[in-house]
Symmetry: C2
Subunit: 420 residues, 2 copies
């Protein structure tokens, strides 16, 4: 079974918008048993769209199209679909009711232009778009392929409208139609280890994964997600296999796993602090507020986060965090002694159970032979005491900041989990 994606929109071809839709759709489809063979990005150009539709139908069983469904004259996907399927637009009452509901909620009357959004090509089935006025459209044709059917689906390009339609309307119908072997997957989140080192550590485990399981590495800056998937006739059996292999993985690399699924490290840490009714403050030097930003991105973080002292200069470390002048002079700002005093200072100053402190040389300047760029100290102050950790990050400033922030959050997570 072959699947391809066609993303339509001028904005995608002049660098106006990064095409994140394709990435998300490919991941979602792949995880549901419909691996994607090809993505095509086109301008809002009738000739190009028609050509891509014809090519797509000769190659694939499933063609997913996004974009070009807006009410303005630039948006010509619907008209092109009519031409391709030799059909014309018809009024769809359910789609119109949806448009009317959305305009009603916003207190606007429905214009003629928006009324047109409720028209769909005859022969297609409308897919209800709860979050927008352009319905999705489902086309079917008989095909000479094994499944005997070919499906062409047109979705709006607005990411959250497309995502909701793909998950709630499209994928369930595709599963019913094509009955791919059930697919089970589980994503394990790791932090603090690069892809190649991780791959070395789990090489033997990966090599002996029982059929039909396989592993995908999904790296993000500072994070590697491990996705374990398998397809087969017996879903229960697959789930048990994945359960067993995940357990082994937890034994292999316990210190690097911080969660599963789609959660972020800052969400997990936030939940943990909220559950334990504990509070947190930070004292950031090299991370310059990035830890604080990650924490406060989470709605409701004011329940557990009290604040931070960003101490970018030594004077501030002394005056505001109570770091002693002598310790600073003896050890330098990037040292175990100073980062520990910073964490203790924040904990006391903000009156919190926990505090994180960072001090490092993020680069590109400021390195010395003894303390090269990338040298980083992190301290965690807890009700039970203080812990300091030393790292050599790398020579890229942005990556150093991000890696240090994530490392700090993971160290805190472990401390809170251990009841320290």
């Amino acid at each position: 079974m072959k699947t391809e994606i066609i993303n339509i929109g001028d904005e995608l071809l002049i660098g106006q918008v990064i095409n994140t839709n394709a990435t998300w759709m490919a991941m979602e489809m792949d995880g549901s048993g419909f691996p994607v063979q090809r993505v095509t990005i086109l301008a809002d150009n009738r000739e190009e769209i028609l050509r891509a539709l014809s090519e797509g139908e000769t190659r694939s069983d499933i063609v997913l199209i996004t974009g070009g469904l807006g009410p303005t004259k630039d948006d010509i996907t619907k008209e092109s679909l009519c031409h391709h399927f030799h059909t014309k637009l018809k009024f769809d009452q359910a789609s119109f009711d949806n448009v009317a509901r959305i305009f009603g909620e916003r207190g606007f009357p429905v214009t003629e232009l928006n009324r047109k959004q409720a028209e769909i090509p005859e022969g297609s089935v409308a897919l209800l778009n709860k979050y927008g006025t352009a319905p999705g459209m489902w086309f079917e044709r008989t095909s000479a392929s094994a499944s005997g059917v070919r499906v062409i689906i047109s979705l709006p390009g607005v990411p959250y409208e497309m995502k909701n339609l793909l998950r709630t309307e499209v994928i369930p119908r595709l599963i019913q139609k094509f009955r791919p072997l059930p697919t089970v997957h589980r994503t394990i989140l790791t932090q603090g280890i690069g892809e190649s080192f991780l791959s070395d550590m789990i090489e033997e485990w990966e090599k002996h994964l029982p059929s039909p399981l396989h592993l995908a590495y999904l790296p993000q800056p500072g994070i590697v997600r491990l996705r374990l998937s398998g397809s087969g006739p017996d879903k229960d059996h697959l789930q048990k296999l994945i359960e067993k292999e995940t357990e082994k993985l937890y034994h292999l690399i316990p210190e690097y796993i911080f969660g599963e699924g789609e959660e972020t490290l800052e969400q997990i840490v936030g939940k943990l602090l909220a559950e334990k009714k504990c509070t947190l403050s930070t004292a950031e030097s090299c991370t310059g507020g990035y830890i604080s930003h990650l924490i406060t991105r989470i709605p409701g973080s004011s329940a557990y986060y009290k604040g931070s002292l960003i101490a970018y200069s030594n004077d501030i470390k002394i005056a505001e965090l109570g770091v002693s002048e002598k310790v600073l002079a003896d050890h330098g700002a990037v040292s175990e002694a100073v980062v520990t005093e910073m964490a203790m200072g924040a904990r006391k100053r903000f009156g919190t159970e926990y505090a994180i402190a960072t001090s490092g040389i993020a680069g590109p300047d400021g390195g010395t032979p003894e303390k090269p760029v990338g040298t980083t100290w992190i301290a965690i102050a807890t009700p039970a005491g203080n812990h300091a950790f030393h790292y050599l990050m790398g020579d890229d400033r942005e990556r150093n900041i991000r890696k240090t922030a994530l490392q700090s959050l993971n160290l805190l997570r472990k401390a809170v989990n251990n009841g320290e």
Copy 2:
């Protein structure tokens, strides 16, 4: 003249990596007079690659390929190119010297696998990849099109290697080969106004842009870039036209323009502070450290940035920033009075010339009828006095944080520029 891009890599089709290469390449090519009609993303699959190469040659004058040039057996682009062009690999001395240099610098011997990276298909020209071991490759064929020639170019998928090769090797050769009309463009950066309001404000100006100039909106969260471009035989004339129209734009929306080209707002503010030898501190509530993060992302920011007090709780605003309890009780944390006291407190505490303070309801909770989600106060404390500004942002937490941070930086920029 038609251009298309083919990005090859399994990782692009399972959601492992967002295909930012296509966005960047399309923008760069479009800006150089080679608008891109199509992008195709494929797996490392020989049959699919060969099909896409054939299709690409029938459609386009220029086919740009990225990916699949690594030394491992997954990387089959080079072999597929040989098959497509009915040729075989030959050893390229200059490419090998480059591989040897890179390995030498890292202190590693060149392995057999890496030696193979210096082989390119006979009939192609190697393009020197200064930053990596895989050379770019340039193929030419005669064509029935107006230009009489068709060019197929293969580049590595690693973004900074690809970018350098495209800018320094590929585009200059394409310009020489196809002699597109000279293209001039200029990008004006705006902040503090959404795309649709901006478009209303400059509608008349845009409508009367002299031929052949045209405008593209390139929005990013909190920022709208306006790219003015034109192609024509007389480059000097174009440059004068763009100069004149840009001047008009500066008169139309002076308060929203903060810079030009590829600079960020935090870079511009940083440069300005460094030039004037002034220092900055911040007191952040709703932005939670994001302003501090933006500033400290810039290398060398410690020269002008002293630090921040992230005051997420009212206690901290009182104890650390000297906000009076009575003012807090009378006006609430999200108020002109409190945000002004916060900025004054930071300025005094950190001993800086300037200070920024923010206080707002980022959402999704915490709104009231009088102060709905999105209500935001920003204060700028300067040697000349204090200024407070009120905004109603929106209901998306992440966007509110980003918009408030950028708005703050732009307000500071104006204050410093005005010598306040």
